[in-house]
Every structure is written in C-alpha cells, then in structure tokens.
C-alpha cells in the first residue's frame, strides 16, 4: 500500500480526489487535510452564499462521499511542517503522517496591501465562507445603525466587481476603488473598460479610478479611506480584493524550489523540485505564472493523478487558456485569447455603442484568416462560439466584422456549432470536448440535456458553457433524426398546436377533460393550465370567467398584479379616443379610491394600487360610465394605437382613428398565444408607430398598406408588408386570416414577430396562405374569427353582475378585511408601494 497525502481540501484538492476515484486504482490510500471547518466547496460560486446562506449547497461533495470512496478526510486541521527526507508531514496537533506521494493543494490567500489601518474593524477579504459570514453580519449591523451605509471594495478586477454587486445586494452603497486608470485592467482595453464603467454606474455602483489608498481612516472601526490630502472616501466597510498570493509557506520551510515572487515551482508533470511532492492549483507556479482560475487547476489535478499512476506521458499543456467570462454581476463581460493586440501582430475590429453599453472587439491575424482574441462587454451571448473558433483555429468569414456586427448589419455569421472539431473543448472546467458531448447522445447514454450534463459533468463548473452544451445536445439529437419534442410541459406530450387540434376535434370543454384524456397522469401546472385556458377561449369563445382556477393569475382576477400584490385597472380606450366626460370620470374614480394614475406606453390610462376587494367596486363605477375591460392582463388584444389621421391632420390620407377604433373593437377580448397590438397611421410619417406592432396599417394613395409581425420589447422588429393599397374590407379579411392562423399554430407565449420569423417559407409562404389561400383554410379562419367577434362579452361586466363570480374578489374567504400587509409611501403627489427589502 502506498500513501498519498493531499494538503488542502479546496476546489483543486477535491478535484484530485475525484479524478483519483474515477481512475479506479488499487494499492493506494488517500488522505486529505483541510484547514477549513468543512469539506471543499465551490469557491467560484461563493457569492451565491449571500442569497441563502446555505453552505451545504456549495459543497463539492458531502463528507459521506469521501467515506464511501475510502478517502480519509480530515477537516479543521492544518499541516504545519513537511519533512522531505523522512517523507512525513506534521499536523497542528503535532501528529505525524507518512507519505509516499505528497500533493500540495493549499491554494492562495487574498493579498492585503500594507496600508496603514487595514487591521481596523470593518475591513474584510473575500475568499471563504467565514469571510462572507463576517461580511453579512457586519452589513446587517450597519443597516441597523444608519440608513444609507456605504461599502468600498479595494480592487476593480474580476473579483472586486463581483464583491461590488454583492454589497449592493446587501443594501449598501457600493464604491469600487481601483489603482489602475481602468476597470479589469488585466482583461479589458481602455475603451471596453469605459463602457463597462458606464454600465456599472448606471446600475448604481460607484467607480473611483487611479486611486492609491494611503490609509484607512477611523479609530478602531473604519470610517473612510484616504487617497490624497483632500481626497477622502467615507465608507462603513471595506472589502479588499487586490489579487492573490499563493499559500506557499510549507514549500518555503521545507526547502522546495520557489518562484522569485512566491509560488512553488512545478514542471509540466506538476512535480516540485522534490519528485515525490506535487503542487497543483493556485499554489503552483507553472511557466512562471500563478493561474487564478479553476480550469487550469483542474487540469493540473488530472496531470498529477495520471503521473502518480504511471502515465508519465500525460503532461500539462504549455499554453494555458486564460479566457474569462464574468458572472453574476448583471452585465456580460468576457475576454478571450489575446485581448490586447500589438499592431504588428494582428488587426483589431471594434464595434462600440455606448448608448447600449455595448462593446465588442476581435483581434485577427494580419492575413485576416485567424481569430486571435477578443473582448465583449454588454453582450457576451456569442462568447462561447467565438472562444471555440479561437481555441480551434477555425476558419472565419472573409469579412471578420460579421463575427461581431449585429445581425441587422450583416453580422451574426458565427457558423454552425456542429462544424466544431470533435476535440474542441467545450467545458474547460471539466475538460469536456464536443466529441464527448455528442457521443453520449449518439451512443444512447443520454437522450436529453439533463442526461448529457449528468454523464459528462459539462456545465457543472463555472457554468459558462451551458448554452453551448444545450445547442450541441439539440443539434446532435436533430442530426440523429430524433425530434426535439416541444411539448408544453411535463404533463403533456403534445405541443400547443397538437392540443389545439385535439380540443377542437374532440370538443373538450374543461381542463380536466383534456388532462384526463391526453395528460401524463399528473395534475397540471402553471405552464399547461394557462395554455389550455387560452386554447379553450380561442376555440369556444369563452371568457376568463369560465374556468377561472386554470387561468394565469392575472386573468383569474381580470387585472394585472403589481409589485405588492395590489392590482392595476386599465379600461379600454379604443384607438386612444376619449371624451372629456370619460376623462373626468376616470379622474374621479381614481381620486375616490386613491389610485396612482399614469398614461401607459400603450396610450391609455392605468390606475394602480387597487386591492382585490376594491376591484369589482371600481369596475362597477367604470362600467356605469361606459367603460369596459381593456384586457391589459390577458394574452389578448391590447391596444390599436392611432394617429389623428385625416380627421384633423393636414397630411392625413385616411381616417386612421375611425379605422383603428373599428379594429380594436373587432378583436377585443380574443385570447391568443401572446398579446397582440395594432397601430394605424394616417400617412407614411407613421406617428402611430404601426410598424412596431403585431399588425400595422399605413394609409397610402389608393388604400392601406398592411404590415404584420412587428414588435417592440427586448428584440424590436419592424412589421413586414403583407399587402399594398387594399381597402378596409380587405384589410379585415386578411387580418382575420392572419391572426387566426397565428392563434392556431404559434407556440405558447410566442409573439407574432417570433412566430413569423420561424415560419418555414417566410413571408412568401405567409402571403400564399393568407392572400392566395394555398391551404384552402381561409374561409375557416374567417368563420372562426367571426364567431369570436360575435360572441364577445366584456368579462368585467359579466363578473360584476354575478354574485357567485364576485366572491372571487375577496382577499380572505373568512373575513371582509383587506390585506393588512400593504404599505404605500408618497411619491410626487401620488403614492407607490414601499420598496422591496
């Protein structure tokens, strides 16, 4: 039996054990010492501890795992000495342990610069769970004694910014202090750093650059930092994040070869100057560098295991990839390869848009054929693919700019993920290649994403590769002809369109009928219930009152729930036209119930802050003044926005208001896969923004131009021209067909824009179906829509006139009281809910 002792039960020490177990060897005993009180945990996701203070969740493996695998885990015990000659180590209780092979995985400690006053209370470092516990308790204490506490972070690198976000989440005002003139000096160039700074400032993180701290102010407790004579930052707390120093004291004391600035030197077999002692992780100095990332540490663990087992040909690569993607902080930042490019080695292409806090830079070889590195701030969605192109030296487009330009400007040409070579390393934390991922599916070892992840461990480290693992899984399944089922949820093996047909053909009237006949034996959930509610409404022209318990929560109470559990009230104002009397009525009702009032982005009036009990009372009054539901809560028609048109406007070509009102009243109340908005403009000046809507009309010489599939929201898209110069009747005919076709075939929660974009055959096909009636369904579509139009009923009028339905609008079943938890605070002569904690 040979003894292996690992010193340091951190991420890399643990990984050594895991790789050792995986190698399934006999003839060794494995002992691991850890100074911390608990088994190794995921330091990379340490900040998650702020959310729930749950240390167990961060564990790399529970203590029982070590026992099950015959590993002797000794926590809470520091090794204080190594005797190379006798091959023994001494622990803090003066016990000696002999080894045949010794692994140093002691990691690193935060570097604390020798600034006067760093020992004061309220100064922290950011490395262990105990550090975080201290910070949380201290921040709580500050929050208790003063309202606007501040916390400074010394160091504007990767970790410092993560700490900045963490203190902000703890309710303190964050100030990041950086010595260099830019943030993340190691990863970003000056321009991207500036973009990142603007973005962080917009999020409420204060940034102080080019600041050298002279001393920490305060008696015993920190009160501020002094940079220059009159340059002071007041702060109640300080987190130091100024880099790391390897924990190499054992190496030094036992005489191993050390780097000039610390770190225990290793060769490409991870051996130190003593062939029986290995060093891995952040304590190891390899190629004269300390790598402050887990991925290289894991590779080192792998090499050390293989070396000890006699596979001496397995060595550490000479080039270590230091690409990084920042996590958790609410803004995408990534850098890969060579982020800064000396002009004689390559050329840079830069795309910058400060208004959207966007910066992308790629560096390509002088011949323009290879990607050498890059930086992305604001949008790192393409990071994984670019990183792979770089790592694998893949071919790039003739105009490399296409790799970073937005799709609308000829970009988005990243290539097919399946073109990656099999050996491309997709998950660097766990060293999983593209080939391994595809292989688990091809061999049938996994049939979906969850299976791939559990077979390969891809994506379980820093998580940065998850989107790519998902894409690869889906592409492989597809290449095998396995349909990637888009069933709506775990309760049904059908997609929305299939359920549509089932309900229509079988004539089901209730959710339970559909579930009992076509479900998987479960009881439904928040995903399938609203989908089926919407289908029932489309097929049978039911209102949301019919089966209210399966409606999405907003539909159930016919109002939009707000931040504090109260509701908003939005009556329909067709086309935006409203009489002075109705305006007055709205004002008076809002005043009576003390409702916050504003004009919405959909140009109507929203009254906020109604309690559940008040909703029917308010609606009764609105209805008595001629209002009806505006369906602001439903996946249904919202508004048809109009411009004033030829009734008043000197340029108007047609009566846009009249037509807008007609359309809004036609399609009001119908339920669809997602909300629908319309717009009607009186001329091409387009004041109604009709092309930003699901359907839009613009009056032109000789009729209306009809546009479809427009969208605002996160991915704005202009509607596309379906038909030109058509009259009112034809508009309605085409729109009936278009909307009904969309309602029949779209996925749940898919707006017309997304649906249309993915429609096989595109606009040409859409025209064939809608205008030329290629599928022979036009008459059906029109008839179905006409049924919905004829059966329209205002669901609020229905509800307030039915005592049984009114019971729904009580906060309590056993009391007439209202929610006693509501707190409003004044704001600009109106009110708003108290802020969330």
């Amino acid at each position: 039996m040979k003894n292996i002792i690992v010193i340091g039960n951190g991420m890399v020490g643990y990984k050594f054990c895991e790789k050792f177990v995986a190698a399934q060897t006999t003839g060794f005993t494995l002992t691991i010492f850890g100074e911390e009180p608990r088994p190794a945990y995921d330091r990379v996701h340490l900040s998650a501890y702020f959310e729930d203070e749950n240390a167990t969740k961060l564990e790399m493996a529970p203590a029982s795992w070590y026992t099950e695998n015959n590993i002797n885990l000794i926590t809470n015990n520091r090794i204080v000495d190594i005797n190379k000659e006798a091959k023994t180590v001494t622990d803090q209780h003066n016990q000696q342990h002999t080894y045949d092979y010794l692994i140093l995985a002691t990691g690193s400690v935060p570097f604390v610069p020798p600034i006067k006053g760093v020992e004061k209370e309220g100064v922290f470092v950011y490395r262990t769970i105990e550090d975080l516990e201290g910070m949380i308790a201290y921040a709580k204490h500050i929050n208790q004694i003063k309202p606007n506490g501040k916390a400074a972070i010394l160091g504007g690198g990767l970790l410092g910014l993560e700490a900045g976000k963490a203190v902000m989440d703890m309710g303190l005002e964050p100030h990041v202090v950086e010595f260099a003139p830019k943030l993340m000096p190691r990863q970003l160039d000056a321009r991207s750093s500036k973009v990142l700074q603007l973005k962080l400032e917009s999020m409420g993180i204060h940034i102080h650059l080019s600041k050298a701290t002279n001393q920490i102010l305060g008696d015993e407790v920190i009160t501020g930092m002094e940079f220059g004579e009159d340059d002071i930052l007041e702060t109640d707390m300080l987190i130091i994040s100024a880099g790391i120093r390897p924990r190499d004291e054992l190496g030094k004391s036992c005489g191993l070869k050390m780097g000039i600035r610390g770190g225990i030197e290793v060769n490409n077999r991870m051996q130190t100057s003593d062939p029986y002692i290995y060093a891995i992780g952040e304590v190891a100095l390899y190629n004269q560098m300390i790598y402050g990332l887990v991925a290289p540490g894991y590779d080192m663990a792998h090499v050390a295991v293989q070396q000890i087992l006699g596979h001496t040909d397995i060595t550490m690569a000479s080039d270590i990839d230091m690409s990084t993607k920042l996590k958790l902080i609410g803004v995408d930042v990534a850098s890969f390869g060579t982020p800064f490019m000396p002009a004689d080695k390559g050329l840079s292409i830069i795309f910058e848009n400060k208004t959207q806090f966007l910066y992308k830079r790629i560096n390509v070889s002088l011949d323009g054929k290879k990607l050498l590195g890059g930086i992305m701030v604001g949008d790192a969605a393409d990071y994984s693919m670019l990183h792979q192109i770089y790592l694998n030296g893949m071919a790039i487009p003739e105009d490399p700019a296409q790799l970073i330009l937005p799709a609308s400007e000829g970009g988005g040409l990243l290539g097919d993920i399946m073109d990656l070579p099999d050996e491309a390393q997709v998950c660097s934390c766990e060293s999983v290649s593209k080939g391994q991922i595809c292989n688990t599916i091809e061999t049938g070892a996994a049939t979906d994403l969850a299976g791939v992840v559990s077979c390969t461990k891809a994506g379980t480290g820093c998580g940065g590769c998850k989107p790519m693992v998902k894409d690869l899984t889906e592409a492989t399944l597809k290449s095998l002809g396995i349909e990637v089922k888009d069933h709506i949820c775990e309760h049904f093996d059908f997609n929305r369109q299939e359920l549509y047909s089932l309900i229509q053909v079988k004539g089901y009237e209730t959710f339970n009928e559909v579930l009992d006949n076509h479900g998987n034996g479960g009881h439904g959930c928040e995903i399938c219930k609203p989908v089926i509610a919407s289908l029932m409404a489309t097929i049978h022209a039911d209102t949301a009152n019919k089966e209210y318990a399966i409606q999405d929560s907003n539909d159930r109470f016919l109002a939009n729930i707000q931040r504090n559990g109260t509701y908003s009230v939005v009556p329909r104002v067709p086309g935006g036209e409203i009489t002075p009397d109705k305006l007055i009525a709205l004002g008076e009702i809002a005043k009576k119930y003390d409702l916050y009032t504003k004009i919405t982005g959909g140009v109507r009036i929203d009254l906020f802050g109604a309690t559940l009990n008040q909703l029917p009372l308010i609606w009764k009054e609105l209805i008595s003044h001629g209002f009806e539901s505006g369906h602001a809560y439903g996946k249904s028609l919202r508004t048809v926005k109009t411009c004033v048109g030829s009734t008043w406007c000197r340029y108007g070509m047609d009566e846009s208001v009249s037509f807008g009102i007609e359309l809004e009243n036609r399609y009001r109340g119908i339920r669809a896969p997602h909300k629908i908005k319309g717009g009607v403009s009186g001329c091409i000046r387009e004041c109604a923004e009709a092309r930003g809507k699901d359907f839009g009309l613009i009056a032109v010489e000789g009729g209306w131009n009809l546009y479809v599939g427009g969208n605002g929201g996160a991915n704005p898209r202009h509607a596309e021209l379906l038909a030109e110069q058509i009259d009112n009747q034809t508009v309605i005919k085409y729109l009936d067909r278009y909307l009904m076709f969309y309602m029949r075939t779209a996925k749940p929660l898919q707006r017309t824009a997304a649906w249309q974009e993915r429609l096989d055959g595109g606009m040409a096909y859409l025209k064939e179906v809608i205008i030329e009636d290629k599928l022979g369904i036009a008459a059906d579509l029109e008839a179905e829509m006409q049924t919905l139009v004829n059966k329209f009923e205002c669901e609020w009028t229905q509800a307030v006139n039915n005592p049984e339905m009114m019971k729904r609008f009580n906060h309590f079943v056993n009391s007439k009281e209202e929610d006693d938890n509501l707190v409003f605070v004044p704001m600009r002569e109106q009110k708003m809910p108290q802020q969330w904690q």
Binding site: N54, G522, E817, N821
Partner: protein, 125 residues
C-alpha cells in the same frame, strides 16, 4: 422582516393544538386556492379536487415577502403538489414547503382537515 417571516412555522399534524374552523368547503375554488385569516396570520388554503386533498401554507411568498401565494396556480411537479407564486412564478412544494425551482427558504405548511363540509386548519398556537 425576519420577524414577519418567523410568524410562520411548519406545523406537523402531531403538533396541532388548535383546529381553526376556517370556512365552508364551498367557499374555496376547485383546484385552486383562497386565503384564510387566523389571528394576525394569513394562510393560503388549496383545494386539490383532483386528488381529493387539501393543503395549507403561509400566504407570504419568501421571495419578496408579499401576501400572494393563495392567488397562485396549483398543480404538481413529478407528483409533488405545488403552488406557483403569481408574482414571479417561484414554485413551492405544498408537502415539504420547499422551493422547487430555486433556493428560497421553505414556506411553512399546515395540516388541513375537512369535517361536515367545513375546512379546518391546524395550528400549534
């Protein structure tokens, strides 16, 4: 804020000292929920008609501390009965109270019994 949450503690059937008569079975929606006031507490009560089972839990969502859970949609996740908060659709097991799609703290659950057409909720205070 903590005191607010700590009002609600998971109560096992064996710990019940008071069975509070909340309301008639007919006052609750089928396969849906409603809120019951008990002293200074708000309790969400759910009628799983399909399962012929009732569940109760705190009305307070641990995510943003709003009194909303009774207004959420119910259903099951792999057989575990659950409620989805109407604000951000965090889901909670109605058996263990555990957050099924995140790491929020568990919600307190309470025993329910039905007798002579009335719904009773069990408390230990």
């Amino acid at each position: 804020m903590e005191t607010f949450l700590s009002k609600y503690t998971k109560t096992a059937p064996a710990e019940v000292t008071t069975w509070f008569k909340a309301a008639s079975v007919n006052d609750f929606p089928k396969d849906g929920g409603a809120c019951v006031k008990y002293k200074d507490k708000q309790i969400a009560v759910f009628n799983f008609e399909r399962l012929n089972q009732w569940f109760a839990c705190q009305n307070l969502c641990p995510h943003k501390l709003e009194m909303v859970l009774s207004r959420g949609m119910i259903g099951d996740h792999q057989g575990i009965p659950k409620v989805a908060c109407p604000l951000h659709k965090k889901t909670f097991s109605l058996e263990s109270g555990e957050n099924l799609n995140g790491d929020l703290p568990a919600i307190a659950t309470y025993p329910v019994k039905i007798e002579a057409g009335f719904v009773y909720i069990g408390f230990s205070d």
